[in-house]
Amino acid sequence: MTSLPTESGDTKLGLVIDLDICVGCHACAVNCKEWNTSGHSAPLTDKDPYGADPTGVWFNRIHTFEVVQEAGDSRTVHFPKSCLHCEEAPCVTVCPTGASYKRAEDGIVLVNAEACIGCKLCSWACPYGAREYDEDAGVMKKCTLCVDKIYNENLPERSRVPACVSTCPAGARHFGDLGDPTSEVSLLVAARDGFELMPEQDCKPVNRYLPPRPKVSPDEATSAAPLIAANFDDGSAGLLARWVDRLLTR
């Protein structure tokens, strides 16, 4: 059924991505590909992977933007983007077959590959480019929020987060229930003024992004005195070293 769930639960699982912390290392994209190529929507087909013009299905892609500030100053912002698991997901309602659906219990948007006819209309309806067509399988694929990992009781509890979150070396990605205002992710969004992407598209995305913290200008910056040689305690060196030092200094 591609109508959105009428009685959706309060749980809205999603990601919070900290643009202040992300270093643009693409590890999340790589681990996403790694996990999901044998997961729920496997495989994540590549075409011509070792050739001159490789293309393939990715659920997570890292863009890098330059933000030019008023003062002629600019900053670089690394910007990971995957499915935002929208509350008003247009990719679900346009689907003619019912293959595209939103789960009432946790809000995850998934594709039933058995029913997908590969008409690509959902990818046209999504403003965020979250859906990619697998030419090989002839069906649409998308981020599953690692639905096969986050509920997997064979994994230790700390591993039951999406692959992109568990792999982020900088701690820029957070996973949790954004429907619960007291959850860690909700508190983080509230504390850091987290925002949604393209609110004018009325899709009500669940994922939130945390803005880069304001830049500190050189004038306001404070720094500790540099560590100079005088701070080293030469007195604690060994007897022989002190004797050589005294002999050669003369």
Binding site: M1, T2, S3, L4, L19, G24, A29, D53, T55, G56, V57, W58, R61, I62, H63, T64, F65, E66, V67, V68, Q69, S74, R75, V77, F79, K81, V92, T93, V94, C95, P96, T97, A99, A115, C116, I117, G118, C119, L121, S123, W124, A125, C126, P127, G129, E132, Y133, E135, G138, V139, M140, E196, L197, M198, P199, E200, Q201, D202, P211, P212
Partner: protein, 316 residues
């Protein structure tokens, strides 16, 4: 947007087929067309032929054409599904009407009522086709109040031109008046198309690189590095840019080949009864078909998807 040949063929061919059958149903029911065997065979043959060609071609671009029947299930929310249901339903009254016309030689009375139902179904089907595109908020050029009327007008016009071939071949009295209706349709369609193009040029897209990234408060946003060194599905499907470069020229082709030339030929055919009139009408049909294909190609190719904001565009 990438202008897929299959989708262009689908919307133009099925539009013309539905247009022709809608006119047959309407004028048949009101006794303005004789229920003549060969007119019926050829007319419905061409009409159904175009519709089937269009519907088959629309399945060419599917990853799994064998599952196409599933597309009839989600009519509650999906315009594509509604289009499928309407298209399948239309075969019922249109088929019955064609059978009554060809086998019983009747297009009046009960057959006429079925013909009217067929006409209405044709209009609904074309409207659903238009709404598939008009309902997408992500593409400003389609999410326009003009998309629906232009699809309906283009289908009505292509059907009317085909009908005029039959009217002049069979020398039906209606054929001496109908060209004026065609000229009015030309005027209306041309006007709608020009106003649509003007609205595209004058209104700005509501989404920007700033709103797409949420970084507008910090300053002006531009793409520094794409996610990958090579192209991807999103860029191939949504990032088509060739048409916007040649839009002006292509629009002129649509205006001249698709509207001005065939309208003049129809006017000429009015003054020249007999064979020259039929020939002029046939040339008008051919020219309009070419113009229609360019118009539909532009409709897809010119349209800019908001996802391009993540790939270097600044407004969509």
């Amino acid at each position: 947007m990438h202008p897929a040949k299959s989708v262009i063929l689908f919307t133009t061919a099925s539009g013309a087929g539905y247009g022709l059958i809608a006119w047959f149903g309407l004028f048949g029911a009101f006794g303005l067309l004789p229920a003549e065997l060969w007119m019926g065979l050829l007319g419905f043959g061409i009409g159904f032929g175009l519709i089937v060609l269009g519907l088959l071609s629309s399945t060419f671009h599917l990853g799994h054409p064998e599952r196409a029947w599933r597309a009839l299930s989600q009519w509650r929310s999906s315009w594509l599904s509604r289009e499928g249901v309407a298209a399948v339903f239309t075969f019922l009254p249109a088929g019955l009407f064609a059978l009554a016309w060809v086998l019983l030689g009747r297009n009046d009375g009960l057959a006429g009522l079925i013909g009217l139902l067929a006409s209405l179904s044709c209009v609904v089907t074309v409207a659903c086709t238009a709404m598939i595109y008009a309902s997408l908020r992500t593409i400003r050029a389609w999410h326009s109040a003009w998309t629906l009327p232009i699809y309906l007008l283009m289908a009505a016009l292509s059907g009317a031109l085909l009908l005029q071939v039959f009217l002049s071949l069979w020398q039906v009295p209606l054929g001496r008046v109908f060209p004026w209706a065609i000229l009015i349709l030309f005027g209306l369609t041309l006007g709608a198309k020009l106003l649509y193009w003007r609205s595209l040029a004058s209104e700005e897209g509501g989404s920007t690189a700033e709103s797409a990234t949420g970084l507008g408060d910090l300053g002006k946003v531009r793409l520094l590095e794409a996610p990958h060194s090579e192209s991807n599905y999103l860029m191939q499907e949504m990032g088509f840019r060739i048409a916007r470069r040649h839009a002006e020229k292509l629009r002129r082709i649509v205006l001249l080949a698709g509207f001005c030339a065939p309208a003049l030929l129809i006017l000429l055919a009015l003054l020249m009864p007999g064979v020259p009139g039929v020939v002029a009408t046939l040339i008008a049909v051919a020219l309009f078909a070419a113009g229609l294909v360019v118009e539909r190609w532009l409709f897809f190719a010119e349209a800019k998807h908001v996802v391009t904001l993540y790939y270097g565009e600044s407004r969509a």
